[in-house]
């Protein structure tokens, strides 16, 4: 297990370099000027001053090495667009809300999705199953921007006095309710379906029959024998979803005016803020790698067979 983790950590290094290179190459293909934000032209001399200041006049390999060095030394450099800010500042300020939103949405998805799926599986092909699966399928299929829009309209605007949730922002706990639901509904539906399928499959396993033949109480059969084994595919799917929730929530962040990293990423790409895009992409890759590692560890805990196999 420890060896596995060490190996994964070591593999992180070339992969991060690869991600930096990938992003660097991609970003260099983009036309556009990070210093020109409006239709107003920038005089040649000023453009030169700016390029010199940020080293954009250096050869590409010098710039690449500078980025790599920046990542290694955890100093991602200054933003080209927000003139008084470092990428580190931006990450520090915008990452926590995204992380929190992603974590809340994930928690919402798991806390509601797994029981819903379990309920559906244990009452397979009866009305609780059908109800749960209608909820899950609709939740999965309806785009989150519509969900967000409807939630805001009904709960914050139309019945705002009753529900006491604000339309936007990320400060009070009330303000976090609607974004969490809007973002978490899709994954919740996904987990519900995943859990249902997985539980149904586990229930057919011979060892479940054994457990029942031993006279174990139904609760124990479900909780200890069925659920635990059924969670393995759920955990496997949870890693990438967490990555997606933390980084891919730009639509939700936009609609709810949440100062998060996803919303900022789009702005940075649009504004050609190379250093910010680079920094955020690396951060994103790191999150995914860490999430995958956590999944592997959880996986090892849930399934002892994989523990020694590696």
């Amino acid at each position: 297990m420890t060896r596995l983790i060490v190996r994964r950590v070591l593999w992180t290094v070339p992969v991060i370099l690869l991600v930096i290179l990938m992003t660097f190459v991609l970003m260099r293909q983009i036309e556009g000027n990070p210093f020109r934000h409006s239709e107003r032209a920038i005089p040649e001399s000023i453009q030169q001053n700016l390029e010199e200041k940020y080293g954009l006049d250096d050869p590409w390999y010098v710039q690449y090495l500078r980025y790599v060095k920046g990542v290694v030394t955890l100093d991602l450099g200054p933003s080209l667009v927000l003139r008084n800010r470092d990428v580190n500042d931006i990450v520090r300020e915008h990452f926590p809300p995204s992380l929190e939103l992603g974590a809340l949405a994930m928690a919402f998805a798991l806390v509601f999705g797994i029981p819903l799926g379990l309920l559906a599986a244990l009452r397979a092909n009866k009305w609780p199953d059908y109800t749960a699966m209608v909820v899950a399928n609709v939740g999965f299929a309806v785009p989150s921007f519509l969900v967000a829009t409807l939630l805001i309209y009904f709960f914050a605007v139309r019945w705002g006095d009753v529900f006491d949730v604000p339309t936007s922002g990320w400060e009070s706990w009330q303000s976090k309710v609607l974004p969490t639901i809007a973002l978490g509904l899709g994954p919740m539906a996904y987990f519900a379906r995943l859990t249902r399928g997985s539980v149904l499959e586990t229930l057919q396993q011979d060892y479940i029959r054994t457990a029942r033949a031993k006279g174990l109480r139904r609760r124990r059969v479900v909780v200890v024998h069925t659920l635990r084994n059924s969670l393995i595919p759920v955990v496997t799917a949870a890693g990438p979803i967490l990555g997606f929730l933390i980084t891919g929530s730009f639509v939700i962040e936009q609609i709810f005016a949440i100062p998060g990293i996803g919303r900022y990423y789009v702005t940075a790409v649009t504004a050609r803020d190379y250093s910010v895009v680079m920094g955020l992409t690396v951060l994103l890759a790191l999150i995914v790698i860490v999430a995958n590692m956590v999944v592997d560890i959880l996986y090892g805990i849930l399934d002892p067979r994989t523990r020694e196999a590696r």
Binding site: M27, L146, A285
Partner: protein
Amino acid sequence: MSTTPHQRRALLSPLRLRRERRYPELPNGVPGEAGTPVRASSLWRDAWYRYIRNRAAVIAGVAFLALLAYCLVWPLVSPYDPYEVDFSQASESPSLAHPFGTDQFGRDLFTRTALGGRVSIGIGFAATLVILSIGVAYGAIAGFLGGFVDNTLMRILDALYGLPYLPFAIIVLAIFGGGNFWTMVVALSIASWFTTARIVRGQIITLKENDYVRAAHAVGARWLRVLGRHLLPNTLGVLVIAVFLELPGVILGEAFLSFIGLGISPPDASWGSMAQDGYRAYRTSPHIIIVPSVAIAYLILCANFIADGLRDALDPRTRET
């Protein structure tokens, strides 16, 4: 080998909804199990029979074909010009003349939804096919060459597995300066093939160990022939399922990108860009956002149930029992 088999299974089973239970030593005559009189039919015919027994999958399949027919045929016969601007009819609610209402320009949404569907579904399938092609190539190379190459390629995938594709899609769209059909396809597939590559590679490895492949190899068949004759055809089932599993993600991705304004250029529209149009007007004309959103949901539901049906019909593990 780390986590592959289970993760592979997780990827294939999330949407598993209706699957016949495997009965303990099944009595003769229980459908689809040992003891059923052997039909001398091919894998695909067998799969077809399994598929049409799945009511939800059949309904979804029919619904999907109906959607395709609507998108392809309706714009040809529609009485309305989908591009003609007529402000006197702007933002009308659904009525008999305009079942889905009209948009801000007075264009018939029933016709434009069909056009948008062509674009969305087209982008969806094209991107899915690109994803599968890259994934198959990568996975096949890794699974087939094995050893050091496999190890390196897979460690990279292990790390990138689950990397959200949308940020890269945004960069790609910025490179192209905006969206049109093909730039959307590239954007949506550039960082989405990791999962497929893993599935294919796992499938190839499993099949490589199979007796008949070994046998074919033992009697001196060349690898290329083994690959073409045995491995890929057997992976095909998994890939067909993967098409419908990938499709919802791609369709939603297209919708999100369009929603933040990186969609395809007007006057063409996709469902995502139509939803973006509708979002800002939702208070006065809610139908403009609801129509394309529901269309997206409809397509995703169809794809899900079709994927479920296909998997139950084609999943080799079901077949083995």
